[in-house]
């Protein structure tokens, strides 16, 4: 232990460079914190070493609370001889309230628990959406977890589980939201709380919910199941406000910034009025974004459900694609229909998916047609950009690929193994 650095020996000349400049500095904040939390001084010391050598010093491990299979990210340092407080320095993931709305009382409660049982570092928020509480040793992790749950908080997801959900601000403060993103986020979380806490899927499964196609929750590429608000009647047009917009910004501005930018060319400007071919509107939100006093979302609202988005590990990025073009999402029965669909997907993917295979990768492997058969959904032309152009189709059986655990079966035309000796004779 002679290598242990005394607090006064921990210098951070490289990190100190990050105290300069106008943007708020996490280094300054953590230095201030280290006055009352000596472990944070060691954290900065270890980080300084990483800056010096461009080498990380964290290792991962597993630690779980009673009854939970995830939610804590176990960390220990490989330079613990110098920084003994880093022997265990876990992160606790905490389920955030929908749309990240808080009362100060709730935030202060989190601060108190964090100060009592961890290094006093909070992150708002992790990339999945959780509140992150950094810097508990194992015993503190248990204590913090118990106190969090005693006060009504709960752990977030990790591992091969349903992950913590995230959603946009939705109807809480946006006129463009086509459904209750906050309510549905809580409903899905609570309905599947067991799937969130006890990993038993092939791999992670993320939901993100956005109230409209602007997708402020970045659901398309960052979740396995984006749920995005839309409508199936027409855009509501207030022609008086259209006229006012033209008076303020000019007809040319409407033409250049609105009409010309419509992806399906479904809008025309005639006699200072906007005419929309609603059948060809794809609900992209651009015109509404620009002329938000004159145009607004339709009244017959619901969601488009997509599937398969993920970031690069391990087959490269996949974009979500349409699974259900439109579903009403207003009543409890609508919400139940959605969770029924989710259960069917989890059953099929859970049974046939391979280890570490995200649902989008699974669909790539077995084919979307097979996937639809497996979850009992009819094909819909809205699911594709175009029908196939290659002609190799097994019309008679649409043979599905071999699933995990199945015996390898030879295709029917080759179902007799040639017997070497007999064939020769």
């Amino acid at each position: 232990m002679s290598d242990t650095k005394e607090p006064e020996e921990i210098q951070t000349p490289l990190l100190d460079e990050l105290e300069k400049g106008p943007w708020p500095s996490f280094v300054t904040d953590l230095k201030d914190l280290s006055e009352k939390k000596p472990a944070v001084k060691q954290l900065l010391g270890q980080l300084e070493e990483s800056y010096e050598t461009r080498t990380d010093h964290w290792l991962g491990t597993v630690i779980n609370l009673d009854g939970y299979g995830g939610g804590v990210i176990g960390r220990y340092s490989d330079v613990v001889d110098k920084f003994p407080a880093m022997a265990r320095f876990n992160t606790i993931r905490i389920l955030e309230p929908s749309a990240w709305v808080y009362s100060t009382a709730a935030l202060r409660e989190l601060c108190d628990i964090s100060e009592k049982h961890s290094a006093g570092i909070l992150q708002f928020h992790g990339m999945t959406g959780d509140i992150l509480m950094l810097g508990s040793d194992n015993e503190q992790t248990f204590e913090a977890g118990e106190e969090l749950m005693e006060k009504g908080w709960d752990l977030g997801g990790s591992g091969a589980a349903m992950r913590t959900l995230a959603c946009c601000v939705g109807p809480a403060r946006c006129e463009m939201s086509c459904f209750d993103t906050l309510g549905l986020t809580k409903y899905i979380t609570d309905t599947f709380i067991s799937e969130l806490h006890r990993p038993e899927f092939p791999y992670k499964y993320k939901f993100k919910l956005s109230g409209c196609a602007n997708d402020c929750a970045c659901s398309m590429q960052r979740s396995d199941m984006p749920i995005i608000g839309t409508w199936r009647d027409g855009i509501q047009v207030d022609q008086e406000e259209v006229a006012r917009f033209i008076d303020e910004r000019g007809e040319r501005s409407v033409m250049n910034t609105v009409i010309a930018r419509c992806p399906t060319q479904c809008m025309t400007l005639k006699d200072r009025k906007i005419i929309i071919d609603d059948d060809n509107c794809v609900h992209c939100m651009h015109c509404i974004n620009v002329m938000h006093r004159a145009l607004s979302i339709g009244r017959d609202r619901g969601v488009t459900i997509l599937i398969g988005g993920k970031r690069s590990l391990k087959i490269g990025d996949t974009m979500s694609s349409v699974l259900v073009p439109f579903m009403k999402m207003e009543s409890e029965e609508d919400w139940e229909r959605l969770t029924d669909l989710v259960r069917r997907i989890w059953d099929f993917w859970g049974e046939h998916g391979m280890e570490h295979e995200r649902v989008g990768e699974f669909i790539d492997r077995v084919g979307l047609g097979t996937f639809l058969d497996g979850i009992g959904l009819e094909p819909d032309p809205q699911m594709v950009n175009q029908p196939r152009s290659n002609p190799y189709i097994k019309f008679e059986e649409y043979t599905r690929p071999r699933m995990a655990g199945e015996e390898k079966k030879a295709p029917s035309v080759l179902n007799k193994e040639p017997d070497g000796e007999e064939t020769i004779s």
Partner: protein, 358 residues
């Protein structure tokens, strides 16, 4: 190690957000009529009832001490009836019922917190980022530090709305790329296959490590009488998937790892639809503590975007309109064979027409 007694309730579920809504949010839930951007960083949402809710958006460093969070609470108690929210890009949104409170609140946000107000409309939003060296077990670089240095450089584009359209930036510290798709992304790039520590190889993980390799480059091998693995280096594309499975498959190399800049990612289905980001330039040094080469490259892209894009065009939409030839001309980044995809679906990225810009 002692374990605490199981006393607290389990499976509480998500916190009840309704308790946390600002009173005007609760009252006008789902009944908002329109919104305006009053000035950079300040929004007003008007409800059908006529109520107006003002929002002041401030950039945060994401990683905060409890004392900083308590200071935020004190300001929100004074001006926001004790309610606030965070955005998906780690901004804080202070919610106000009274327009006359906006200026005093902004002063306190600047003076007490030192946080900038902005990030609305056609501006740079707060950079989203991963844990990096601060607390992740896989990173080849830091995130919080690189973001801090970058946002110092881009500060004026956060506090002003002077871009053609919003620009979202992210960073990722390894090739798993937790940072996600963005208009401009700064991601670490590995350049070497994993170095295997045969002595520390965890036997239980071996089949998983073999299975996770997307190009079947990892296979079992006996090494000095022990079960271990080998990597077929010609097949390996340095993705690091195996390293996530097993810490003994070290993919990082402090001397070799570099940073790449990617452009044109977009999540919204607005106008052109979502898009992946594409490689703009690579080989930038992983250069703590301030990564100046990264800031320089990002500024080069932003300058070209400001000069060339039409109003409402995101970075990717601008490049799609003017073409990649023009993009490489105006940014000065060289276009090389490494910019041409050679993985799955590479052909879908080729120009399969005779349409060329000459």
């Amino acid at each position: 190690m002692t374990t605490t007694k199981k006393t607290a309730p389990r499976d509480n579920g998500a916190p009840e957000f309704k308790k946390f809504l600002h009173p005007l949010m609760a009252k006008n839930y789902g009944k908002w009529k329109y919104h305006e951007r009053l000035r950079p960083g300040v929004l007003v949402h008007v409800a059908e009832s006529g109520d107006a809710l003002y929002t002041v958006r401030a950039g945060s460093p994401r990683t905060m001490s409890v004392d900083t969070v308590r200071k935020i609470c004190t300001i929100a108690d004074k001006y926001c009836q004790g309610h606030l929210r965070f955005t998906s890009r780690c901004n804080i949104e202070f919610l106000l019922a009274r327009e006359e409170d906006i200026d005093p609140l902004i002063r306190e946000v600047r003076d007490i917190l030192g946080f900038p107000v902005g990030g609305t409309g056609p501006s740079i939003s707060n950079v989203i980022h991963t844990q990096g060296w601060l607390h992740c077990n896989l990173p080849g670089t830091d995130a919080a530090g690189a973001v801090k240095a970058l946002m110092d450089t881009l500060y004026e584009d956060f506090v002003n709305e002077r871009l053609p359209q919003r620009v979202k930036i992210s960073t990722s510290c390894c090739q798993i790329n937790c940072g996600g798709q963005s208009d401009i992304a700064i991601n670490l790039q590995h350049h070497k296959p994993p170095k295997i520590d045969h002595g520390k190889m965890q036997i239980c993980e071996l089949p998983k490590v073999v299975a996770i390799c997307p190009v079947a480059a990892v296979r079992p091998r006996r090494v000095e009488g022990r079960d271990s693995l080998e990597v077929i280096e010609e097949k390996c594309m340095y993705c690091g998937a195996c390293h996530g499975q097993c810490p003994s498959m070290e993919i990082r190399d402090a001397e070799a790892d570099t940073l790449s800049i990617w452009v044109g990612g977009k999540s919204a289905s607005t106008r052109s639809g979502p898009s992946f980001m594409k490689l703009a330039t690579y080989g930038l040094p992983n250069n703590p503590p301030r990564w100046p080469e990264v800031s320089e490259a990002v500024c080069r892209i932003l300058d070209a975007y400001k000069a060339g894009a039409k109003p409402y065009e995101r970075v990717g939409e601008w490049i799609d309109r003017v073409g990649w030839k023009r993009f490489f001309e105006v940014t000065g980044f060289p276009f090389t064979k490494y910019h041409i995809d050679n993985y799955r679906f590479a052909r879908t990225t080729f120009n399969t027409s005779s349409q060329v810009r000459l």
